[in-house]
Amino acid sequence: MADFLSGYSIQNWLESCPQGYLEGTVYGHKPGEQEIELLKTNPVLHEDAIRTTVQLVVGERAALAASSGLINSAPDEASKRFLATQTLDEARHVEIFTQRLYDLGVRKEDLESTIARFANPNLVKFAGVLLEKVDKKDFVAGVVGQNIVLEGMAFSVFEMMYALNEPMNPKFAQTLSGTIADERRHVGFGENRIGSLLKEHPERKPDIEKMQKDMSYFMLATFADAFGETRAVDELERIGQERSHAQFHGADLGAMDPKEMEDLLAATVLKEFKTRLGRLGLQYQTPARP
């Protein structure tokens, strides 16, 4: 039984989400807010913003496929209802990040080709490991992969992106803030549901630990590609645009080069994985460094 869900209901979700932090928003932000002009007019920053947003769409499409796919393999009614609201959360994320691509000037007829052009192959492989478990109707592995590994990664990635955008891009920062609020519920479901299920099925631990190792490898490879490809820091310096000195886990992001930011994000996510999995009695498996 998912006892921790006894207080959860669609009504609770309505009062927290659409009638809470999303009230009055349009595609996750205040009506009338625009992307900052520099992102639209500077070709390097423009492509960088599109590339970054494509990864968010790819990740959220995987989350949508996973959460909807897990509904029918959930062993109890409360989990099915929770996953129904998570499915709508993920569909909303796909929509708001797709809308950001449109706001950045991507034409609707070019959406899929833009995603195909910029989607990181390692992120696609990361999603593939998860969706394989979902396709096999493996609820325990699916929830660990989706709500602990994928959502745990998204939680830290979105927090770093929020810190970077809050001082200069309120539209995108608010979009991210609403997404982070959704992720709280998702990681909470993951930990609490799996915490009880693993007590019933301790024999599943080695298989799940291997999945975490595989997914972590592709996640680190995605980070390495993303921070290795970005030209934003160099371009901001070239045009004399001062970077915002946003704080993330005690570090000044405005004073870091992309490699240092990659290392900080990877260390933050892996530390969180280790802590979360440890609470569940799972042994964190260190992936190879790509």
Binding site: E23, E191, N192, L280
Partner: protein, 109 residues
Amino acid sequence: MSSALDVDEGEPAAGSPAANDPKGERQRFVLDDTGFDEVPKKYRRFYRKWKGAGDRLAANEVICPVCKVVIRSSRTLLPGDRVYCMPCMSRLVVARNEATGDLEALVAY
């Protein structure tokens, strides 16, 4: 809503700070609205966002280890109290970290 939510009205839930303080000896705190809007209105004053480096927890506060939201009680928190993190649905037990001496919350699955 939850067996361990520290609401002021009604019978205190078993294990909650209110239930663990039957004589009313603990310091009471007035919980103001901090703008936290991720739970239904009735419960919003029981939570706030962690502001990162430089933020400090009061004697009636503890961080949820699952979602990093600060949980606020209307009474001083002590080890053994049960609290509920509504934003991520985690049931938590307050404990003393022996290394730091600070209060922390442990997840009760």
